[in-house]
Assembly symmetry: C3
Homo-oligomer: 345 residues x 3
């Protein structure tokens, strides 16, 4: 029996396969403090228990993206240790609030496989879930990754490409958001007077600020998530790679963009769902990240008069701010994220 | 309605103006652990619950300077986003102990304005307060900053320069310090046999050690405080600045100097007040910080036989230790801080 | 009275001397989160309260090595501030689990002294203990360090070299490990199907992954442990040293090797004892650390049917993985650690 984990290769995956991931993880206020120190996030609900309690949470919930990264991190050793690239996300829904003290576990089901024509790699579609200590699903998402084959002679499996929603339906939003007591929502403490009704589809917002990233920071973040993808940590190997250096975990970029988006979306306190996302280019230590957003849609939530949802597309770029970029993606663009954010009405 | 915060410019401030700052912030043991990892502070009261409880606290209080940085950080988006320089501090008093779990908010009042003769900038005097979840003021301080005008044609306001105390009066010290049970003060655990009575005005103490600072560290610290001043984070912009690099938040230097001062002031467990402070030169990543102190005064506290106060002036320098420096400020000096420290008797 | 601590020199130590160290330290979930972010450790018992509770702990205990580093850190100011080298460890036993919220103090007894023939240095043998807030010893270990003399004319003391065990006896293991409920040990959550009985003496395991270390990381770690050894922090001084740069705390290497060893020893949830250890060469920022292990022995624990012990030797190297190294130490080898690890049966 091999004692070390070589990770799964493309030919090891099959549709219907279920995987329970190591390692269970209790999220603490220590993780929350580190998350703040890594990104500087300022959303009032996640930052102050007093604010969160006033508006309807039992205390400050853990940042949605911290939950995402911790669940994602658990899947790496089984799903993407031999991945060439993380191709995309879909149907990501945040289903229950997570509080400090909650213990998360993760599991996945393979829902699609498609060998590439080169015969050396294939795409694996995976639906992953994070559960709390009561077995409640707190997060569910699909991602697809390109994974290497170990045995090039292994036969190609029957192609199965799952039918994934382009957009998470409005009916599927809001379950992680308690009833919000709008009278107690203090817009000065929250950092902006702009509520749900103040945003219009088509509107764009430049989040203004830039943030330079260091190697120590992204490695501390990625280890905090117990994500073991080798490309983030090993300079000795990476110096012989195409890029010559460590790659920054794509989720680090998502969290930076979200933290920067406070300046323009301060009352957007909860990510209810991620419709889709792409990492368009790699980020390296020393690069400076900027972000801007476009409001794609604005919806009421069924049965909710307290909050509404905005569909937002946030882009991040490196080493160039919004004003320096044309509309179309170019080499500076590193992220496109399409998601639903909950605002108070 | 603009969705992003451009910050206030000099002409936006007026005497009597009151500002409630975003973002409420619950301080946790996670913040405390990060603070230890960033500065290596070793004061027994703040480090060990067992010690703190023995001497009279309900548990280890949060380091005074961590409270200061968190309150200060909140004021930046409204007060100093367009600041040229942070000119000074006065009348800073720590009024209640802060414990992990407390939620802090900050508010400010403009108490003075003075346009500079160049017509492009002005000095704004601000009194800021931090309050806990019960509305109790835990910290109050005045700072004055030089802020740019956006509209150079805006008329100069009537000059108001507040009358600020050179020194916080002894009567105003000690309210954040519970009655200390001196019999339970274990000087071996605290790290030094020197109590209040062992220090004499005029005495100087070289704190010996030096600490080199990295970019990842000061950015993690400054984000932990949710301080958004751009000069600390954006290398892309800063490389075109006068210094060519990111500036380290001045409060980072204060915390480094305080942590270094343990070697010489180990029983000085509580900063009761800051009389004044100046950042004499900027600090950059790669620089090494040293500190030394002079005892300026020694006072009983009215009605207190358990503790006394020392007025201390701590200087920090970069890339040169105390012995290499003349008495007068030179290019290596980066900080002068005049403050009251409480010692057990 | 000197206000600053010059540290002890060789001639200041005598056999039988007892030292109570500053600073008491409460360990929190914040420390645990930082530890995870610094090393990426994934052992299920220490990571998830739900897992720990299921198998028999009251909650996730603090990582054994975090306890070690915090106790070790306290001894530095009194024992090794003037040390030339940390020569070795022996008889290190973890005696009680430590949980977040526990407050640790440390004390030491000098058990041997031996002046070197050059008359400038000597070896000091020290037994150190860490105690929790109830006075229970949670950790005990011996280390010996080479310490400079301040007064070269001081007479050599009578040589006393303590008789130290090569190996901690099996009877002395297991007191920090509660009865483990093996039926609740979920090997998928724990990350490996390999239990105690699956390992054979003589077996070697390459832990595969490499981890590059940055200055910000090791300084944050070492300050978290309140370890004040100057060589880790002061680049201005170190640039004139033999190595020209800051040395990384040896314990940082131990924790990195332990975290890497998860890939191969995932069910080895508890270090019961360290038989011996040597730092064979220094590690510097920018270096990449690899680790591999050899099973030296496999033992039942007296009276325990739930768990067994493996004696493991873990080596760490810099900038070369296991396959690139010969059996014998060479310049890339940085650590040899001989220890007992507890596995479920």
């Amino acid at each position: 029996m091999s004692k070390t984990n070589p990770g799964n290769f493309f030919e090891d995956f099959y549709v219907g396969q279920k995987i329970k991931h190591a390692t269970p993880r209790t999220i603490s206020t220590g993780d929350v403090a580190l998350y703040t120190s890594l990104y500087g996030s300022r959303f009032a609900v996640q930052s102050g228990d007093s604010f969160a309690e006033a508006v309807g949470y039992k205390q400050s919930p853990v940042d949605d993206l911290l939950v995402f990264h911790i669940v994602f991190g658990k899947t790496v050793a089984d799903i993407s240790l031999n991945a060439v690239a993380n191709l995309g996300y879909a149907d990501c829904r945040f289903l229950k609030p997570v509080y400090p003290g909650d213990s998360l576990t993760a599991s996945s089901e393979i829902i699609g496989v498609k060998q590439n024509s080169n015969g050396k790699t294939g795409v694996v579609y995976v639906r992953s879930s994070g559960r709390n200590q009561r077995g409640e699903v707190v997060l569910e998402y699909v991602r697809w990754v390109m994974v290497r084959k170990a045995d090039l002679a292994a036969p190609a499996p029957e192609t199965v490409v799952p039918d994934l929603p382009q957009i998470v339906a409005v009916n599927d939003l809001g379950s992680a958001c308690p009833h919000i007591n709008n009278e107690c929502w203090d817009t000065q403490l929250a950092g902006s007077p702009c509520m749900w009704g103040d945003y219009r589809p088509g509107e764009t917002i430049d989040h203004v600020d830039g943030m330079t990233v260091e190697n120590a920071e992204h490695m501390m973040a990625t280890r905090l998530y117990q994500n073991t993808a080798k490309v983030h940590f090993n300079q000795l190997e990476q110096k012989h790679s195409r890029f010559g250096q460590r790659l920054i975990y794509g989720g680090h970029v998502i969290s930076l963009a979200r933290a920067l988006s406070f300046n323009g979306l301060a009352n957007g306190f909860h990510i209810a769902a991620i419709n889709g996302g792409s990492h368009l280019a790699p980020l390296f230590a020393g690069d400076t990240v900027y972000a801007w957003s476009k409001v794609l849609d604005s919806c009421d939530l069924p049965g909710r008069s307290d909050v509404g949802a905005l569909r937002i597309r946030t882009n991040a770029a490196k080493n160039a701010n919004c004003l320096q970029l044309p509309e179309k993606p170019d080499e500076n663009l590193i992220l496109e994220l399409d998601y639903w954010v909950i605002f108070p009405k």
